[in-house]
Symmetry: C2
Subunit: 196 residues, 2 copies
């Protein structure tokens, strides 16, 4: 089965769309998805790439665009979702831990649902309270492990792996031959490329 | 027939794709296209929105992405095209003149072909030498008129019209109800919206 890396950083807005639809799409197209958490914020800060926080007109369009596309996919988000995230790194460090332990897909999907559909920001205690039990996880253990040096190093290494692939935004998709696609609107093209 | 405004600034890279394909697409979908030149650079500078010039990793991806999409549309650009344009404003002021006189579609299409397919930057004398005869225009007259105060005012007014619509990038598409779509990859969605 062809493989596709799905590079995701919890905090990216358009990733809500990809997270919500990639599972069914990949199953239908018989592509195996490798979910890869990293810090897109670190890379974007390095590049002085600030797409929305200081650009209200562009941010307003982004929410409208997500709303239209969500509707096309049968999703019902409450927009605008709280943005930007205060607990960006915590959400993603837990993602790195979850990835090591095999529950990242369930975690990131539930995290985005609570954030985009119920208005509970990712990375907060309230969000984790809703999300972790469904992943079979206990909050205190997860938060402590995610704050460990070991997970910090794994998070930095994952972000370096993203940098090495030429990734500058999220969501991004990387095929087995290294071909990179950026943005939820390139998901179908990435899957088509992966299947060639 | 439903109408769709096509807001374009010669200098935008992804606009090559839209310019090259919108005519046939609009004819097939029975949508009337209103070609609207403006200065996206002025708006993007105001917003401190610098997508590629200072971001080499993102720029490299942009060229690769355009190449893939051009191939899907049966186009054969020589990439990367010269970028950014030195004669951005001249190319667009001529566009405003052309729009008033009814030859903008032919002008912008030939301009992008020379720029993206033959490597001759838009707005240069060499580009105009190739493009203007096919539009039935004489270079000296066109350049002089484009430099006039009247055209300068019309260019500024067009850019203000874009701002009033919430436009922050090019290409952009605006439906009769004001719905805005940004980017060549939203052209199909804009046409679908316009036809509702």
């Amino acid at each position: 089965m062809p493989k596709l890396e799905f590079w995701i950083s919890i905090g990216s807005t358009y990733s809500y769309l990809s997270v919500s639809r990639i599972g069914a799409l990949a199953e239908r197209e018989a592509v195996s998805i490798d979910w890869r958490p990293f810090s897109v914020r670190e890379i974007m800060t390095e590049m002085d790439n600030i797409p929305f926080a200081t650009k209200p007109v562009k941010a307003a369009y982004m929410w409208r665009d997500i709303e239209r596309r969500a509707r096309d996919h049968g999703l019902s988000p409450q927009l605008p979702a709280p943005y930007p995230l205060e607990n960006f790194d915590r959400a993603n460090r837990i993602g790195v831990l979850a990835s090591e332990e095999g529950w990242f897909g369930a975690y990131v999907t539930a995290t985005y649902q609570a954030w985009f559909e119920e208005g509970v920001p990712a990375g907060t205690v309230e969000n984790l309270t809703r999300v972790l039990p469904g992943c079979g996880q206990q909050m205190d253990r997860v938060v402590a492990d995610a704050e460990s040096e070991r997970i910090g190093a794994a998070y930095a290494a994952a972000t370096q792996d993203a940098r090495d692939r030429g990734i500058f935004g999220a969501p991004s998709f990387v095929c087995e031959d290294g071909e990179l696609f950026w943005g939820d609107d390139r998901l179908e093209a990435a899957i088509e490329w992966a299947r060639r």
